[in-house]
Subunit: 387 residues, 4 copies
């Protein structure tokens, strides 16, 4: 693979590389690691990329790599730039004939995501999106249990993603904080765009349902912020199920508290990202079951997502690596013209669009005095829009 962004000092690039490295199936062969040539040089050296495959801009990389023999050139590009570049880089890569694995969010606006869908389709290439949390084995297991009907009809979903790192004005100075709170760089939302969207994705991915209606309360908690740092969204799903989505970056004491509960007519399940190897299945009239990764029977997708025996915890990087491993398999299947296992596909363009729609719908709904709003997939009227 090649990489755009992720030069020395970048956090998420390092995680993507660790994830890609883990299984020894993917090799980083080239990169346009930074807009800063010195950083490009140093990053390439650090990563053992030969000088002739370290590029200073992504367009050159795509052009030059495309000239290499198929066996040598990168097979896909991993995009780990700042958010506003995700779309143009993905567009350029796809148009140059490369598969794309993009960091989340897919684009800067919903309209870009809609355009991207056309571009993906025209290119005939594969597009993957690192909604990391869906890579966890027990998320696969949860989705399988719902699909099997073990929960009965889904009646209610409570999903939360809470953090505390933006709880005070003092927290705003950090590199991560400053761009996330800046509309010009982060887009229309901070909290919902950064983490709320993961919660929404998790709820839809596990339940197999889609949000159709929402009521949002995204007011920022810390004075003087232009973007939301906390929010709650009331939901309705397409089967009529109710939902509550809580998200916060001002919840002091929360680390990375992503958790979900899905209630059905027969049973419920509960999963927490911070203890990811456990899935709870609960009933009204018999003991709860603590389903543990590697203990007893599990879904095929779960088993394929595990690397160690029961009781050897797997974590965030392994979940991330699962997304990469799935994508690598999709590429092999693509090359072999075989269909991919639907339960083992990386999140893709559908999730890209629904994610951007979630962000824009919550922001729009939050500014409205009206309670309920349909979940739109286009033409969302945002607060600053001129009518």
């Amino acid at each position: 693979m090649g990489m755009v962004g992720g030069g020395k000092g970048a956090f998420i690039g390092a995680i993507h590389r660790a994830a890609a490295n883990l299984d020894g199936e993917i090799e980083l062969v080239c990169g346009a690691f930074s807009s800063n040539p010195q950083n490009c040089l140093e990053s390439a050296e650090m990563l053992n990329i030969p000088a002739n495959r370290s590029y200073t801009d992504f367009n050159t990389m795509f052009t030059e790599e495309a000239k290499l023999p198929a066996a040598q050139r990168m097979q896909f590009v991993s995009i780990v730039t700042p958010n506003h570049l995700h779309y143009p880089v993905a567009k350029a890569a796809l148009e140059a004939g490369f598969h794309v694995m993009s960091d989340k969010p897919a684009t800067f606006t919903l309209n870009e995501a809609i355009d991207l869908k056309d571009i993906v389709e025209k290119s005939g290439c594969l597009y993957g999106l690192t909604h990391t949390y869906t890579g966890y084995p027990m998320v696969k297991e949860a989705a399988s249990r719902v699909a099997n009907g073990e929960l009965g009809e889904i009646t209610k979903i409570v999903v939360e993603y809470s953090q505390g790192w933006l709880a005070s004005k003092d927290d705003e100075d950090g590199k991560q904080a400053s761009w996330r709170l800046d509309p010009a760089r982060a887009g229309v939302s901070c909290c919902m765009g950064d983490i709320g969207v993961h919660a929404a994705n998790l709820a839809e991915t596990i339940s197999g349902l889609e949000i159709v209606k929402l009521c949002a309360d995204l007011e920022p908690v810390v004075d003087g912020r232009q973007l939301d740092d906390d929010g709650t969204v009331l939901l309705r799903f397409n089967n009529g199920a109710k939902g509550v989505l809580l998200s916060s970056q001002i919840a002091v004491g929360e680390e990375n508290n992503l958790n979900i509960r899905i209630y059905g007519s027969k049973a419920s399940l509960q999963w927490q990202q911070m203890e990811p190897n456990t899935l709870w299945l609960r009933f009204s009239d018999k003991p709860s079951q603590m389903i543990r990764a590697g203990v007893g029977e599990c879904a095929a997708a779960t088993a394929q997502s595990l690397r160690t025996p029961a009781g050897h915890p797997e974590g965030y990087i392994e979940a991330f690596a699962n997304i990469y491993r799935q994508f690598a398999q999709q590429i092999r299947d693509f090359d072999d013209a075989k269909p991919s296992d639907i339960t083992m596909q990386a999140p893709g363009i559908k999730e890209a669009i629904r994610g951007m729609a979630f962000i824009e719908n919550t922001v729009a709904a939050s500014h409205s005095p009206q309670k309920w709003h349909p979940f739109l997939l286009s033409n969302i009227q945002l607060p600053g829009d001129k009518v």
Copy 2:
């Protein structure tokens, strides 16, 4: 004490008696246990109440007891009847000069609660309300920590009370279920009236804040129900803090999941009723503290609410008994014309009114297409009301 309701077979009456018995400070001396004379008889026998102090109606009980010498007659009455009788029994008792400890909810409507306030004031008697959960030692500790300023400015409260026992149509046949789902007996709300109101009370009690605005989503989940069996309420408190209140009776697998998280600018706390002897204090930049009942220093109100050394779990009945013990102390203070310790008072008429207002406000707000509604303390326009 005397008791109205709670005859043989009644659940909550037995709990009230256990709570009153626990410390050996309160003696049950008379009762009007049932509207059924045979049950009265059997209950009195079971409880060792002499026949002449077992009454078949509460008015007679108040009249007859009032005639007894002060040292013999009951000092207060515990009301554990069905909800619609709480108000008339309390009114009669207060007007006969007896202190009242009432099961929750205080009344059937907000208007009755407002009337009751006048009656309490006129009577000069004490009025207590068993919002049981505030009797837990660690709830006292939590309130003390907030009052001390350890959390800084409160920014957000997430409170939940979820159960699963009304998750299906089949669950509706039970005695408890049938009256709770019947507007004629339960009032305007099932879930919010039964348990959501405890969550609201807990949030206000610990935080010392008051709800001033809300947005409610109380639609019933199970088909054919006239009253809510699940709901979420978005909140604003009088200091501007945001809140989310989740409550459900259809959350399969939940037992009695009352839990609260209060986030402040400096720290947050978390408490769960099902593990009541633990209180979490959490920070952004240092280890979380697991505060345990009986370990190290605690607030005076906490210490006074504990009966055993650290590690000997105390539970629901002890919390309930604390409410009774507090009320017994209030009566002693009253008799001695001494002021009562404000941190050690049973919930009273203020909580009665705010509780009934919470119920009616959420129901009214839920029926409105408008998002936010002020939290009113009178003249709430309910759906069925004729304008």
Copy 3:
């Protein structure tokens, strides 16, 4: 009931009374609360005991109570004196024809316990012993699961009772500490006598097995102590199962950590006193089951030991009250000449003897350079004994 010991200021007496009060079935009618006449007076007043039934010595109490008509006199005596008096008070009570409920340990020495057995048998009276922890509902459930064969053949038991309150020399000044570390008042052991014996009792009670062999390491941790403050005992049970019993009073940070794991050929179970309403059933090849008090089906003995619906935690006092309630039922059955339900009997003279034997066997084994020792029920050679 009558009470010997437990005057004002005594800890365990108050717990016994709360336990006896809880269900309103047992009334305290007389007492010899203290060897101090002033304390007797004040205690009687505090407890609403008429002056003529407040006695200053236990012999008088037994004599005088025996003279009262059957309907008036106490039906049993609760013994909550310091340990060395348990035996003489029990003996006197039994010989006067009163049933006895004794605080633990039953006696000061194994020989006394053996004598006591004869006395109980001769008296024809009932004898109960407050091994409190066996009163927990989930301990009943655990025993039932083992008896049902759900675990298969028991292969290993790990039981622990750890506390930290005697971790330093400074802790020795307290009233509780000073007598427990004094051989003249505590007997041959501190840690094993006070709490290790509860662990042994719990293991035997749940498993239905008996210890037949042991290896002990009871050396005190804090310098200068004559009695053990920490110990580990390796065990063999009568079916060949292996065991490990850990007990400590110097385990800083432990509150009252009594927990047990019982492994069988088919499944294992785990219970922790500090979260007593949960019992774990675990398997090799399927999800663990979290069995919760009040959820789904349970053993009859479990159901009879519960007072509240699922999710309303019950604790130490309720467990203690269960022992009293069981004993009250045994007395009623005795009066009715009916057999008592064996799963609902309070611990008795058998547990008294095995408990004292456990203490003396571990002390003797600990002083021996030899690894294994048979578990003897008489004639144990203690270190100070003259041969």
Copy 4:
């Protein structure tokens, strides 16, 4: 690096490679993956190793690699063969001038480990041993806390490593089980050799203490086994602290339950491998602290062992990768003739010897009727030894 063993289908080889891959610092350049030439071929292909660097025996590999220019040849060898080959392969590698990273146990016997020490010293090369669990960040933190004196004087250590996968005769058929229970392939111990030794290593590593005396009970639980499948060891450490080490492979329901508690005069700590990102610090008189990876200040060694922000769980593979990363740094320091940070060194030859001594001492002590035995570092009399 080069690898000996770990061909297609081998479990632990894959884990070593994932661990080595994770940070992109270590490249697998050659291997003698199997004694089976076909497996060698297929493994090399699977791992993208050129045919000329895929060797069919380790001696050839060492000879050939040594001939390559320094910049091309492997820098160290990772040994992931069956146990009995660890010693001869390590010896050959060291004598050929290659650093060695060996899977655990270091050798087949203590005598081999003692020999190996000489060989390491003579070679001037580095020797690392994958006692994986010491690679966890919170194990580093725990060791740092003890070294800082936060616990005061260590008084007691309870360490456990329990699994359930060998609980029944039926479990013996698997590939892993059959060799572990065979003295010819596993050595003198199954349970202690496989996992008990990790527990001992963890206790010594965190506490900085050394076992000096022990009493062991290793009898197998399942009939017909020649080697232990369960055992308990009573310990004394060189500062006088007491210890208990529990280990089992027949504990049905246990996954990989490695946990440790270290009690000191001032505080205690607790860590569990199955929730590895949490470390508990507990006190007698103030709230317990839940120390979480990435929250607040931590030791330098902890910080260097983390890859993600707080709340993104890291697990077993990351711990394993830390051992590799430490070893890679040791090699760089070696090449630069710089001293390595002592808190960041991979376990080495000292741990190799103490580990083998632990295994042989426990087996010897278990066969003795005498309780206590000194912990010997040579000349241990094993049961089968001819005197």
